[in-house]
């Protein structure tokens, strides 16, 4: 079976902060590709370089050395100003702390993000409602984050990340602030995004229980991707 083309690829990526005695090699010579339809977990201890890795993968940071390819295009060769539209069209982000506007309803949070990402988007509110329904929040569209549970907030954040239909979702410990049941529910949703919609999902986590949702697990230690382990998907087994 042919492997589909990767959405994003890191090739020999190194990120160095500071210089001289204060120099820190946050990431060294990292190689990693992310494919459509898969969930890739990034594991590793605190300070190992996981956040630096996903920041570079999501075009939020420029590497010191090495190349980043997005859908085959070598984006490290592009000027900084060219990156926001590529980010908008390629990535959706979800966070441990949700990062939702507390003054806006769920629908408004998602619609604003859609409009911000693509000012030409029409019917942003209708699209926001569709996305919220797709994550099971059809009855919570007009609620503000303060009136939602942690799991519901994260679902709003996922719906927001899906705004603009990005092929890849990057999550930074998206389940860390959630109880076990809710966390597993969120991961099941992400699994569905990968399996049904063919999106690539990259999740940074410390939680070993999430491995069952993953297709691959990349282990990062001391700034190096030391192992990428393929996991048999439970449903495929």
């Amino acid at each position: 079976m042919n492997q589909p083309a990767p959405i994003a690829t890191l090739s020999g990526v190194t990120k160095i902060y500071g210089s001289g005695e204060t120099q820190v090699n946050a990431l060294e010579d990292a190689d990693l590709s992310v494919y459509p339809g898969e969930i890739l977990l990034i594991e590793g201890p605190s300070g190992s370089g996981k956040t630096t890795l996903i920041s570079i993968l999501g075009l939020l940071l420029r590497p010191t050395r090495g190349d980043v390819f997005v859908r085959g295009e070598r984006v490290t060769a592009l000027p900084q100003r060219a990156l926001p539209p590529i980010r908008a069209g390629t990535f959706g982000f979800i966070f441990q702390g949700f990062n939702l506007f507390p003054a806006l309803t769920a629908e408004e949070n998602v619609a604003i993000a859609i409009k911000m990402k693509d000012p030409r988007a029409r019917n942003a509110n209708a699209e926001a409602r569709r996305l919220l329904a797709s994550v099971g929040l059809e009855n919570r569209m007009h609620h503000k984050p303060g009136d939602l549970s942690g799991g519901q907030k994260q679902r709003v954040a996922i719906a927001r990340a899906l705004g603009g239909n990005p092929p890849m979702i990057i999550g930074d410990e998206p389940t860390a602030a959630l109880d076990t049941k809710t966390a597993l529910g969120v991961m099941a949703l992400l699994r569905e995004l990968a399996t049904v919609q063919g999106r690539a999902v990259v999740v940074v986590t410390h939680d070993p229980r999430l491995a069952k949702f993953a297709d691959r697990v990349a282990r990062v230690e001391d700034g190096r991707v030391v192992a990428v382990e393929k996991i048999e998907h439970p449903q495929a087994a």
Binding site: T51, L60, I86, A88, G89, N99, F101, A103, K115, M116
Partner: protein
């Protein structure tokens, strides 16, 4: 470009989410607007008073004693000067006028300083205006005077026919005006030129202004220059004389500096309060803004949200502050203070408020411009 309704919605909802903080911001801008409007309005009101006799006269040129700097304290000139002015080529008509201080004897025996305005019989270049009672033409009857009803509290005179003395000379109120006030706060008392001399203890041939009507086609500036060449006299066109009267009080006495300093303080208060509220709001929502940037939103979209918040604060502050200024104007009118809220002042203050609020948002704008989208992954 992000549509205005979307940015407006985001800006408005974020700003109004914390009602208490927004109330503080709105109060800060409102007080700032009120201070600016009331202080400048008071200043304009005083300045209007400083030149209102000149502005209501139809004289093309004003002639006064040489070296006179202040309209209210002008040097006396005599009849010979008047005849030289009247016979100068280009002068179609000339009238003498006296503006001097007198002591008005009150009904209770006390006295009140007044500014006596002496007009020539048959004069037409300056007359009392806004007459609300009586016949102002009767000031040319012996002892006839016109006073203003807004000065009733000072003069203790509120109706036609009342009789008083000014420096011992008999005076009878023949008419009442409304709203004619002097800059010096001494009430105006209009009288015939001869009576005025008696009221101000001036000699019979003395006065201190000649109001001139230029002959048709004569250049007023040129005529003023020609009249200034007469010995012992200075001459100015009406607009120049009006500006000199106002400038003396505003720039030579520190009155203007006082008013404008308070107005500037108002602007500073507004800047600080709005800047603080907007900056805190930006800090509170930095993660959300960072998330939007991470997702590909451009700086311009987020900056517009912040600038719109500043403009919302400006509009709310302008409306509330304008209302407070109107209330202050009404309250001060009772104390005989004229807060002149001109269209230009209101428009200028509105623009100033918008600029002030946008300036106050600068710190927030800088914060967002420097916001690293990768910061969303930090904590």
């Amino acid at each position: 470009m992000l549509s205005v309704p979307i940015v407006w919605t985001l800006a408005r909802k974020i700003l109004l989410h914390d009602r208490i903080k927004f109330s503080v911001a709105a109060a800060g801008v409102s007080i700032s607007v009120m201070l600016v409007l009331v202080q400048i309005g008071l200043f304009l009101g005083f300045m209007q008073n400083a030149s209102n006799l000149i502005d209501h006269a139809t004289a093309d040129v004003w002639v006064t004693g040489e070296g006179s700097e202040n309209f209210d304290f002008s040097a006396p000139i005599d009849d010979r000067s008047f005849y030289k002015v009247a016979s100068t080529p280009g002068v179609a008509h000339a009238e003498r006028m006296l503006l001097a201080f007198g002591q008005f004897r009150l009904a209770d025996g006390g006295t009140q300083g007044v500014q006596v305005v002496g007009l020539e019989p048959g004069g037409r270049l300056l007359r009392p205006w806004h007459v609300v009672d009586g016949d102002p033409r009767r000031i040319h009857e012996p002892g006839g005077i016109v006073v203003d009803v807004s000065e009733a509290a000072k003069l203790k005179v509120d109706k036609v026919g009342e009789r008083r003395e000014i420096f011992g000379a008999r005076a009878e109120v023949v008419a009442l005006t409304k709203g004619i006030r002097s800059f010096t706060t001494s009430p105006f008392v209009w009288a015939d030129l001869d009576s005025a001399r008696a009221y101000a203890l001036y000699p019979a041939d003395r006065f201190n202004y000649v109001m001139v009507e230029a002959a048709p086609g004569v250049d007023r500036e040129a005529l003023a220059r020609r009249l200034s060449e007469l010995p012992g006299l200075d001459a100015y066109t009406g607009p120049t004389m009006s500006a000199r009267a106002r400038d003396y009080w505003s720039s030579r006495t520190g009155v203007g500096a006082g008013f404008f300093t308070t107005a500037a303080l108002g602007v500073i208060v507004g800047l600080v309060v709005v800047g603080q509220i907007l900056y805190n709001g930006t800090l509170e929502h930095l993660k959300e803004y960072g998330t939007l940037k991470a997702m590909g939103a451009r700086n311009s979209a987020i900056l517009r949200v912040i600038v719109y918040q500043a403009l919302i604060s400006a509009v709310v502050g302008m409306v509330l502050g304008g209302g407070l200024a109107l209330a202050s104007k009404a309250a001060m009118a009772g104390a005989n203070l004229n807060v002149l809220l001109t269209q230009n002042l209101v428009i200028t203050t509105a623009v100033l408020t918008a600029v002030m609020c946008c300036l106050a948002s600068l710190l927030s704008v800088i914060k967002v411009l420097r916001l690293d989208p990768a910061s969303v992954f930090k904590g």
